[in-house]
Amino acid sequence: MITEELGTFSDTVEEEAPVEACTKCTACNTVCPVARSTEIFRGPKFLGPESERYRSQPEAAVTAGLDLCSGCKLCEVTCPSQVTIQEYIRRAQNKGAEEKGRTLRDWVLGHTRLLSRFGSMTAPLANLGNRNALVRWAMERVLGIHHKRPLPRYQWLTFERWFKRRPRPAKARRTVAYFYGCWVNYNERRLGEHVVAILERNGIEVIVPKQQCCGIPAVVNANMDLARKYGGENVRRLNGLPANVDIIASSTSCGLMLKHDYAHLLDIPGAEQVGVRVYDICEYLWMLHEAGELDLDFQPVTTRVLYHAPCHLKSHGIGYPAMRLLRLIPGVQLEEVDEGCCGISGTFGVKVEKYDLSMKIGSRLFEAVKAAGRDSVLADCETCRMQVEHGTGARSAHPIDILARAYGHR
């Protein structure tokens, strides 16, 4: 017997594969927004750990209903046994797509960066098209993108080009790299401008390394090879940054990809070294505050706002730093609306067959928002903001926009 070579079994504490830890407590199914909204979904317990036991078969990958998982990760957030339910679902979905092929629509949605680049280049025309009933009818028929789903408005001047053109500030205490993501680049440059302005206001130099889509649209559209390709490029570039440069993301889901999913879901080499220095923008600003380095010279912002915590923010495991920050600002009346998932989950709610489900998932949130009657709804995630606006007609903003106003930016 060669016991000394055995390692873990002789150890005092278990180190089992996470999938083995499921105790069938079914907590995940109780919180799953999809399972709570439709009876045609078996739920995360079955699609994740339970099916996973059978996926070690050489040829068995597909489980019916995998595509109904929206990827919100609330199952993982809720699992008392830390089973990485989502990862099993995503891998299986990806394997299924490899075996069965992807739809054109899912291919396109996985390539949102390409799409956005094109949209941005042709901005006025694309925006016009996206609002044209005939075009939308055609998009639904050909691509399977629901005609009622508002599509993001593209901007002609990208954040990347805007940043290159602007003058450099003189002195800085430290430097951070900004992972702005596709949204800021092609759709909401102003958010990026605010992030830069706030950081610089606090004496931090912002650099913008060349970057690729974070890959999450590819992940949720069952195209992990593409996500891995994008992620690999990002990891390579971000690992090239000087060691003392932290990385900031203003999109919840991009940040989570960088922090966690590159290393765990996608197994990208070198990703852990990136993840360890990625911060959500609000998380980072709060850290500055705790270190006594945040400029607290805020102008009052008189506004009554609701805060909706995106599902993926919960997966960050950092609490709600945006709320803490906003409470520092005089005049801000802030209340959390905790009605769970908004339902859009990135590209999930865009799809023709998922649109109604997506709106049903979000309905509790929509009702609460309408009942509250506030000036706007804040959320760190761009697709949450789109969904809340679409579902309620309310205005929405990133929490950073309020902070920018407090610093005097409009």
Binding site: M1, I2, T3, E5, L6, G7, T8, F9, E14, E15, E16, A17, V19, E20, A21, C22, T23, K24, C25, E39, I40, R42, K45, F46, E50, S51, E52, R53, Y54, R55, S56, Q57, P58, A60, V62, T63, A64, G65, S81
Partner: protein, 556 residues
């Protein structure tokens, strides 16, 4: 006058008995099978499920190896739905193993076992689970997994379709004799205690490790040595193919991916009685440690339970002990040997060769009955009624259809979510009089055999005992508790990590949410009209505690 009559009574509901019942029925001989517990609840159901290519025996026991080669090929023809044709690896991890290799290669060649040496790199490519300790690898394409439960049920159902009968939980308490000829058996029902007699022309004693006890009822001796083997079940397959250590067969040198789990086996220790099967911690640890030498993931997988089975080794009078004894079998013609006509015993052997064993003993009995029809079990497939076999059991991980983890499962409800058992998979068994406990349902459907070990499905199945069997609540509740307890006794041996956390969930559900402990206290005070047999003995007791030994007839 006996209460009923038949042609042949087969005693023993393991693979051999079930095989004999089928063989008789195929030859047109009326037969009844009597089993004191449930079908496949003794040796067969507690085997590790390795379908032997013969490689394991090819050096020490060439005769048994050759039988395995032939029978393995026959089973692949006639019982392919009970087999996972995984192929297997024989791996060397030590110097001694390497020294064994030439003999192994020679043995394979002599027995006609296909055996291909492949590079470790190639082996890892095919089987990433092979551990870093692995030095050389042989590929043995004819090793595989034989599902013992499905095999027995398949034989029995096939026989039943031809008019054979099955009585479970029916113990043989004595024989009817006229002069020196056996003319029938006396039986007792384990639940009702009801005693009946069955008249017959011949009796086949296919009780394996229990053969001596049955023979003693006729004052003849059959020397069977009960040899215990302990196995550990992991919660997933770990490997795609079976893995054997390439050495002189020893402890803990087999890994069998079996449906949704992996089974690590086994040990070899003589026991005083086939129902005294204590599981010792050292054995459990040894299974895991030795398994980990061959495959990665063994020591980190979730160990679900441990169980012990008993080999019915036939004592030919030699000095051999345990594994040294032949895995060959013998037909004992008691008329010739002991002067008792109408009685034959079949002893020794292993599940892989059950069909041949059944054929040989049936040959003898048929000959004595003057039936000249030859055995056709080597040619007639087990699932000759394809659609009925599909009803028999729905087998999740098995290769081929139905593949319930695929699209077909859709949104069908599940009774056992771990093992993907649907209501329609359990429903027919509630109508089968041979099924009398929830463990019996488990053996036929795999319900309760997953990681939670019946925490969830036990309630749903107990509910069906009321709605479909018409039992009263107390009896159904007792059945649920027995089911949980039987599982618990096996899981206890691996109570660490996830399985101990699972125990808390199970206790929370049944003791706190349902208040089942108090329900049982109440029932034990109240008069009961229980319709259940007592739980079967030998389900993994031990762990340092004095195992409860059933009454053993005095030994000479």
């Amino acid at each position: 006058m006996p209460d009923t009559t038949t042609g042949v009574v087969v005693i023993g509901g393991g693979s051999t008995g079930a095989g004999a019942l089928r063989d008789l029925s195929l030859r047109g001989i009326d037969a009844v099978l009597l089993e004191k517990g449930d079908l496949a609840s003794g040796t067969t159901g507690r085997s590790h499920g390795l379908l032997h290519s013969g490689g394991r025996y090819c050096v020490n026991d060439p005769a048994a190896a050759i039988e395995c080669v032939e029978e393995g090929r026959i089973l692949r023809r006639i019982a392919k739905t009970t087999i996972e044709d995984t192929g297997g690896y024989f791996v060397s991890v030590s110097e001694e193993d390497l020294a064994w290799e030439p003999r192994f290669v020679e043995g394979c060649a002599k027995a006609g076992i296909t055996c291909e040496r492949i590079s470790v790199e190639e082996a890892r490519r095919r089987e990433p689970a092979l551990s870093q300790h692995v030095r050389t690898v042989f590929w043995i394409p004819e090793d595989g997994h034989l599902d013992p439960f499905y095999l027995v049920m398949g034989n029995v159902e096939s026989a039943r379709r031809r008019g054979a009968q099955v009585r479970t939980y029916t113990e043989v308490t004595g024989f009817l004799k006229t002069d020196n000829r056996v003319t029938g058996v006396l039986t007792r029902d384990a639940i009702t205690g009801e005693e009946t007699s069955i008249g017959c022309q011949a009796v086949i004693n296919a009780t394996g490790a229990w053969a001596g006890f049955v023979a003693r009822l006729l004052d003849v001796e059959v020397k069977v040595v009960p040899v215990k083997g302990v196995m550990v079940v992991l919660s997933h397959r770990v490997a795609h193919a079976t893995i054997n250590r390439c050495h002189k067969p020893g402890d803990g040198d087999i890994i069998v991916p079996a449906l949704s789990v992996a089974i690590l086996g086994t040990t070899s220790a003589r026991v005083p009685h086939p129902e005294v099967l204590p599981i010792e911690w050292d054995e459990v640890r040894q299974m895991i440690e030795e398994g980990a030498l061959m495959a990665d993931g063994v020591s980190t997988a979730r160990a679900m339970r441990a169980y012990a089975g008993v080999r019915p080794l036939y004592d030919l009078g030699a000095e051999a002990e345990g594994r040294e004894m032949s895995r060959n079998f013998a037909v004992i013609d008691h008329e010739e040997r002991d002067g008792i006509a109408g009685f034959a015993s079949i002893v020794g052997g292993k599940v892989t060769t059950y069909r041949l064993m059944a054929e040989r003993v049936t040959d003898l009995v048929a000959q004595r009955l003057g039936v000249r029809t030859p055995s056709t079990t080597a040619d007639v497939p087990l699932n000759d009624h394809e659609e009925e076999m599909d009803q028999l059991r729905h087998r999740p991980a098995q290769l081929g259809v139905p593949k319930p983890h695929g699209d077909e499962l859709g949104l069908q409800p599940l009774i056992c979510e771990c093992e993907l058992v649907r209501p329609q998979d359990v429903a027919p068994w509630f109508k089968d009089p041979a099924v009398r406990t929830l463990e019996d349902i488990r053996r036929r459907t795999r319900s309760g055999m997953g990681p939670c070990q019946s925490a969830i499905c036990s309630y749903r199945l107990a509910g069906r005992l009321v709605t479909e069997r018409g039992l009263d609540g107390a009896t159904a509740t007792r059945a649920m508790a027995d089911f949980l307890e039987t599982r618990w006794r096996g899981v206890r041996h691996v109570f660490w990590g996830s399985q101990l956390r699972q125990a808390q969930v199970t206790a929370g559900l049944h003791l706190e949410l349902f208040n089942l402990d108090r329900q049982l206290m109440f029932q034990s005070q109240a008069p009961s009209d229980a319709l259940l047999p007592p739980p079967l003995p030998g389900e993994g007791r031990g762990g340092g505690e004095e195992a409860h030994a059933p009454q053993v007839a005095s030994k000479r």
